[in-house]
């Protein structure tokens, strides 16, 4: 599992997401506005499949690529992923 994603390292996930997206759409990460739908940078449904797979591996979560369709910006994705991480660790602890 990746580093804890709360508190001071809260931006770690967001930064990582933007960096990976930048690789998929072949642009510098700095150009990725965290509130702009990623489709506008050319992250289409095909690229989304590969990108979400990387997110799954990085965070050790099971995700459907449609998570990106429902949460199409870095900030929205960041928020929903944190929720998923939190509920996944609840399950781990109760198990």
């Amino acid at each position: 599992m990746a580093e804890p994603l709360t508190g001071e390292s809260a931006d770690v996930l967001r930064t990582w997401l933007a960096e990976r997206i930048a690789v998929f759409v072949r642009r510098p990460a700095a150009e990725i506005d965290h509130d702009v739908p990623l489709g506008e940078y050319g992250l289409d449904s095909i690229a989304a499949v590969g990108f979400i797979a990387e997110v799954e591996d990085h965070l050790d979560l099971v995700l459907d690529p449609t998570v990106l369709w429902d949460h199409p910006t870095v900030n929205e994705l960041d928020a929903v992923l944190r929720e998923r991480i939190a509920s996944a660790s609840d399950v781990d602890e109760s198990a």
Partner: protein
Amino acid sequence: MNARGRMEKLEQSLGDPADPGSPLGFAAILAADERAEMFAEGERALDAYGLNAEFVPPEYGGRLTRLDDLAEIMQSVYRRDPCLGLGYGTSSFIAAVNVWTSADDEHRRTVAGLLLGNRRVASAYHELAHGNDMGRTEFEAMPGRGGLVLNGRKEVVTNIQRADALVMFARTDRRQGSRSHSQILVEKEGLAEGGLRYLPRFPSVGMRGVQLGGVEFRDCLIPGDSVLGTAGHGLEVAMRSFQITRTLLPAMMVGILDTGLRTAVGHALSRRLYGGVAADLPEVRSTLVGAFADLLACDCFGLVCARALHLLPRQTSVLAAAAKYAMSGVMSEAMHRLSIVLGAQSYLREGENGIFQKLMRDLLPVGFGHAARAACQMTILPQLPMLARRSWSTADPAPAGLFRQDADLPPVPFAQLSVTAGGQDSLSAGLAGVLEATSAGADRDERRVRDLAGRFLAELRELTETCADLPPGERTFAAGSDAYDLASRYTAVLMAAACLETWRHNRDDPFLGNPAWLIAALGRHAGRLDGRTPELPEDVEKTLYAELLDRHEKGVSFGLSSRRFAGGSR
């Protein structure tokens, strides 16, 4: 009536197509094709049989219980007239599958009612401006005037004019993104006058009888509750429901190759050349046996993928794309080689072999219709790294039921079909299973099977290494042709695994249990992968040639199930 009974009944009601006196035979089918009309007698016969009920799940009054059976039933239609296959059958089936996948109970009842009343429902996705690029669809259904207002065009769509209802892929949100489209159900009865205009028909090279049309809507109001399922989920519904139709269409079209091969065998046996018949020439025999082996491989892959939709619905985003890609390639090539056996006869539009040229034209859309082959590769490509890392060396083999015609299958799990396979592939895991189940010290045929399994397993290992770290840029539309090639090599591995596992799980079957068919099918398949002309062992070719002649003589299908067709050969 069980499915075998229905297949028999459909065959009997359509009769022997090669009988020159049959009102439902090739002569009449060709005449309708010459006029670029649907074959009216054939449509009446299918009405009488109630073919549409095969597309409707039992809870809505139909007979859609197993997709492998549906593929075989439709082979009986496609082997006679692919225009009936598409223009009577699969156009409505594609629309219906969208409805079963996403719609609420009321919409399902409406569409089931239309189909069971022998009506047609067209599936209108395509716009000339966008081709396979569905996400750019412009035709829109926007809220307004107390309902939905339709604007825009659909073009080159089967039955758009004569259908009673349309399932249309429409933009329902002007924003970019993947939640901006929906399927809508448009019933023509009660539509406002003047809201819709039909475009002239699109004449075509093949499927000439199929009425390819277009429509333009202008500010046409339809009821607000016309969206199928959740608004905005159209792209997802398409990606999920098309897994069924992209698997089934090529599996049904195996019937075309069956008649192509039947025609070529008939010709080669009767054509006198050099003091014998054409079939005496070893080269001609090899071509016929090769096409037979290719047909068996396609039928096998198609039926396995059809059962996978029941048993492994989370994996079929990959399998459906692989089925469409691999089967369309192999079948088109096989048909081309058969045309060489027929020579000039493959070019004549009338007479005993006249059906061949029509079938050859009608087969072509298997490659580009309902998703281009390249689009199928593109579905697989971004999933390769996940598959490599999560499955290829570790997955458990698929359940035995995937490979047996007598397996119990659960109802089609429409709701479980997923946008991606999540890196899961239990079909290719069967390669290692076959290696374990065979021994190097066994008889010659088993050693051959083992070698072939080893060849495809080595291919999978190579793919695993290359794909595990495929760079992001090679997993998007920007990918180079080497990356597309990886996807097609993987489809070859999946097809081989389907054949090997089918043999392994049917060793009690007199035909399937004898490895001759498998050695021929995979020998050819390995040859294609290695880019050389495959030569089959002499004894294998001899066994298959005898089987081919026997089936031809008795009028038995060339596919896996060896079922009896109506009439028998000429």
